[in-house]
Symmetry: C4
Subunit: 229 residues, 4 copies
Amino acid sequence: MLEDLKSRVLEANLELVRKNLVIYTWGNVSGIDRKSGLVVIKPSGVDYDELKVEDMVVVDLQGKIIEGHFNPSSDTPTHLVLYKDFKEIGGVVHTHSEWATSFAQAGLSVPAFGTTHADYFYGEIPCTRAMIEGEIKGEYEKETGNVIVETFKNINPLFTPGVLVNGHGPFSWGKDCDEAVYHSVVMEQVSKIAFNTINLKGNRNPMDQVLLDKHFFRKHGKNAYYGQK
Amino acid sequence: MLEDLKSRVLEANLELVRKNLVIYTWGNVSGIDRKSGLVVIKPSGVDYDELKVEDMVVVDLQGKIIEGHFNPSSDTPTHLVLYKDFKEIGGVVHTHSEWATSFAQAGLSVPAFGTTHADYFYGEIPCTRAMIEGEIKGEYEKETGNVIVETFKNINPLFTPGVLVNGHGPFSWGKDCDEAVYHSVVMEQVSKIAFNTINLKGNRNPMDQVLLDKHFFRKHGKNAYYGQK
Amino acid sequence: MLEDLKSRVLEANLELVRKNLVIYTWGNVSGIDRKSGLVVIKPSGVDYDELKVEDMVVVDLQGKIIEGHFNPSSDTPTHLVLYKDFKEIGGVVHTHSEWATSFAQAGLSVPAFGTTHADYFYGEIPCTRAMIEGEIKGEYEKETGNVIVETFKNINPLFTPGVLVNGHGPFSWGKDCDEAVYHSVVMEQVSKIAFNTINLKGNRNPMDQVLLDKHFFRKHGKNAYYGQK
Amino acid sequence: MLEDLKSRVLEANLELVRKNLVIYTWGNVSGIDRKSGLVVIKPSGVDYDELKVEDMVVVDLQGKIIEGHFNPSSDTPTHLVLYKDFKEIGGVVHTHSEWATSFAQAGLSVPAFGTTHADYFYGEIPCTRAMIEGEIKGEYEKETGNVIVETFKNINPLFTPGVLVNGHGPFSWGKDCDEAVYHSVVMEQVSKIAFNTINLKGNRNPMDQVLLDKHFFRKHGKNAYYGQK
């Protein structure tokens, strides 16, 4: 079942390793089949170099395992909250990539400092508030999703395809699992450049709004003119 | 047409990937044939590992496509301004390489801190002023070229073969596309060392002028004695 | 004798090179056979790419060479103190990996800044006090072990499987030599992210205790639910 | 002539590339045959991947070319001053490796912060004074050697096998060209760790002298006990 999606989710997980975003088992990718409402996700704690298509786990949006001989990623409830609330996304990625995680640990959003950022993220990459004791001791992974959704109350998740969970690390998403991985790579790269920028300029003032608009909409929306049509 | 130049421009684009200056489609190289006034440039938004010689786009100095089945890089108008104003250059490179981009995002020139810098750049690598709203909303990529040219009003572009566009990233050039790539690698390396130097010494005072002169002219001009004659 | 353990210890030493934790001969791994009380350790100053199974040295807990044609690592007495005092560990690793060593040289513990850290270390990775003259001029390597043990007077070494020796570098351990290497990789990665975090946030306040508890016990102890059972 | 030394000097030059200490032509290694007083050195400005044994240049201690179809490295006069003054060394290396160069550009010595440093350098790696105008405009490369020798007036070059030339970069040496390369790798690594240490602890106080003594003499001199005898 969902063999094609399983293959793509597997490949997307392996791409995280190739792009140096994860070591050991420190990341997970999922993809959703919106017609059936089923989600394919990496199993928990299995080494990347042993992962096979048939190890992928299929769950429904309530988290019930529909197919698979392994437990799904322990972060599955976070993925599910995102799929339920961000209705247009098709893939979700979580990593502990080092530069994005550094901002998450500092409790800081990544400011939009330049056009590299603006080509993909329409404004800062937000950092969530710290979670409170009741959330952490309760349904922790689900609450992690909730605090992300709360952060996006007034932000369009398609225009800002990633977030930093305070004290934890990055989540990203996209129209499918490949684009979600692409966005996790971009988030890591712009986090690194932002770190350097902060250590050079000594403040966190973002770029001009008009330059942000220019670059984001050069690549997105009906007036985009980057690439081949 | 211009088959040899197309091959060289293709190779120069791939060299950016091998030198770790670009990920995905984040860069472009062009070369000019000064006799015909035609420019060969990378197509927009095509993956580097799929690029073929026949995908290179030929444009004239007014930006008209003379040959090619793809749109040229969206940064083409910037390249053309540089070719028109810097009459002795033969190749142009644009990347979002991380260390040079960090300085661009901080709005800072790269100071000439040492002989590694002085071997290639005769003084600081300048950062342009920030572009204004009219420029950004107008012919943006052409205005990007104009603000570079404005920055070089009193600077010899052959002695300072690169620039940081404020809030954006580096452009470099050279006598041909290979040298332009070479200069983009050097710019990235000296930017990185300059970042470290600033974080060690706590100020931005450049090296002595006499040492700058010594190293630059040891490699450039009629009294150069580095390398084989 | 102990052929299987020798093979594993050899492989664990080579893994340090593959994970970029050591250059030249700057590290060593040992493993203990608790039944016989014998320890297998890398020989001193032999290149990693020439190491063979038969070069591994077998010593008893008093440091007497039981088998081997080479001298054991000069850090052997440190390993032995740890095996004697931390009775549940089965492997020990010492490296000069760059980020952990940076904290050791600064005389600073690595704060528990985020969940990447909390997944493996239950609280800060402690830095020992500086050793005093008598210890340095005496049985130096043995005293290095003693100062580690002193640091863990009130810390469970199974919950904090690593330490920074002040002005020196990291030691880590685990239930066997493979896990000890795994912990040395994790220590290096969280040290790097912690360095970035400090340089972003400007202080060293650790994460909330409740989040630390959550992540550590999600992976350890009887209520763990990460991975496959 | 000196075929064996030429081979070793060639290999030592290539090792600089493999250890990521140089890009393009940014480095050079030489070796001396003390019996004949002849020095073998890399030719100037020739790409590393085209270097062949027969391209190595043989000069005498006055800098006269004895054999070779290329010009020797433009830094040859610096090497010769070192061979003449440091009579026990057999190889010299110059690079622009990024971390050591960062300290040179900041005009700072690399403090002895920890045992990684103390295993090879008996005290700080000194940075020379800035050269004055007369020296720079005169016999520049020879004066570069002289300012190094001046820096070592009260330092044993065998105990401190490297230096930072102010505003320029590192030189290292050893009993032969291989050890000189080894020391250039170590210098780069301890420079990087020292940079991190400074950015963590906020000061430049070195380690205790007694720990420095312990580690240096554990590996050097008649009471050394590291490695195999």
